[in-house]
Amino acid sequence: MNIVLIILKWLFHILVFPGFLFTLCAALLLAGIDRKLVARMQNRVGPPLLQPAYDLLKLFGKEIIIPRQANKKAFLSAPAVGLASLLVTSLLLPFSASFVAVSGVADVIVVLYLLTIPAVAIIVGAASSASPFAGVGLSREMVAVMAYELPLTIVLVTVCRKAGLMMDESGMTFSLATVMQYQAEHGAMITKLSMIPAALAMLFIIPCEVGAHPFDIAEAETEICEGTLAEYSGLPLAFYELAHYVKMFILTSLFCVLFLGGFTTGVVVVDLILRLIFCVVVTFLCITVPHAVCARFKVEQVFKFYWTWVLGLALVSLLLVWLGL
């Protein structure tokens, strides 16, 4: 009886909240808001809020073309793997200090690694499609991963150290739940002076990790014909689009966990709404505004930007935290 309940609870977590269904709805909503906001900033009416959902549904109904030279199995399974790993990540993100579906001693490292899997899935899918455009695209995608991964690591370490100094006797924590706990007790991370550069760095990292507009070097539709996705059509393409939206939600959500964690009430529903509002704000700041304002960067510009300015911001924060500020 007990075991059945546990399994049911797990299935609920995986399939409904905060796993599959919730993440999906939130991600589609977020993507719709993003597109609408971009349109409004350009003084357009913009697509309806449900446009991402329409796009996905339409793609479900399209024919699937598998190029003759492609490795069929890798071509079809890569999108599913990428999406699956994102959904697992969604289980690891706490909603408040008390509510987290799956908690671990060191889930920060797991999140970091799970977030690289979608990029790897895109790359393997692109590689298996045997298109030269996809080849160029995957090379660029990997450069982008190399570019943002270093500052992202430092930001995560900084947050872990900041929370660990107070909450853990070893001076370092790797648990997102502890980070939330810290913020619940001592106020959100963003209110700490030493964490502001790290938060800024994270705001720069999110669009690149998502592959949003100024950093979408891998999918540059005008130069390399959608790059990594050049050969995809129909359902697998829908999976990639979905993974793109979900990634947007997961990363903004991660930002909320890391820097805006203190503002919780303890009531799950209120926390949820708060989280969604924060996600929209973060999305607006780091995805919508650059999208509306910037033109696409060149590949080496992206790399240089992340390994100088963003890295510098993250390092400043780490140093300040290490000095105990």
Binding site: R44, Y54, D55, L57, K58, G61, T222, E226, A230, G234
Partner: protein, 147 residues
């Protein structure tokens, strides 16, 4: 239920792939202006894609020159079903002022079924939007026929 939803959304999210088959660039500029803030075709879900594999609507502009003929046909064949072909401007439907030239091998409907033809040299953006909306309807019909 799901099938109906998919059919409905086929009309709401038509992605465009644009082929220039020897056009003078007039139509191309007008097509781009359709997507600018002034006309904002994105409010109906139109989006310009970079790969024919993603496209629903293929917009062909220009008289089909000998050089581009094979490439147009090849690219059209690489678009997944259901797909709609839109001939943009007078050139692809008749050859326009280029008609009779040694380098013209048009019109477009020699090579594929043209679903919508937007006449004009160049057509006004309003006309293009009307044509694209028509194409989206046809897309929905084609999607319904697929099952």
């Amino acid at each position: 239920m799901l099938r109906k939803l998919i059919d409905e959304s086929a009309a709401k999210s038509p992605w465009i792939y644009h082929i220039n088959a020897g056009s003078c660039n007039g139509c191309d500029i007008e097509l781009v202006s359709v997507l600018t803030p002034r006309y904002d075709a994105e409010r109906c879900g139109f989006k310009l894609t970079g790969s024919p594999r993603h496209a629903d609507i293929v917009v062909v502009s220009g008289p089909i020159t000998v050089q581009t003929r094979d490439r147009v046909v090849r690219t059209l064949s690489q678009v997944p079903e259901p797909k709609v072909v839109v001939a943009l401007g007078s050139c692809p439907r008749s050859g326009n002022v280029f008609k009779g030239s040694y380098s013209i091998d048009g019109p477009l409907d020699k090579y594929c079924h043209v679903d919508v033809s937007v006449a004009g040299c160049t057509p006004k953006p309003e006309a293009i939007i009307a044509g694209l909306a028509k194409a989206a309807e046809i897309l929905k019909e084609k999607r319904k026929e697929m099952h």
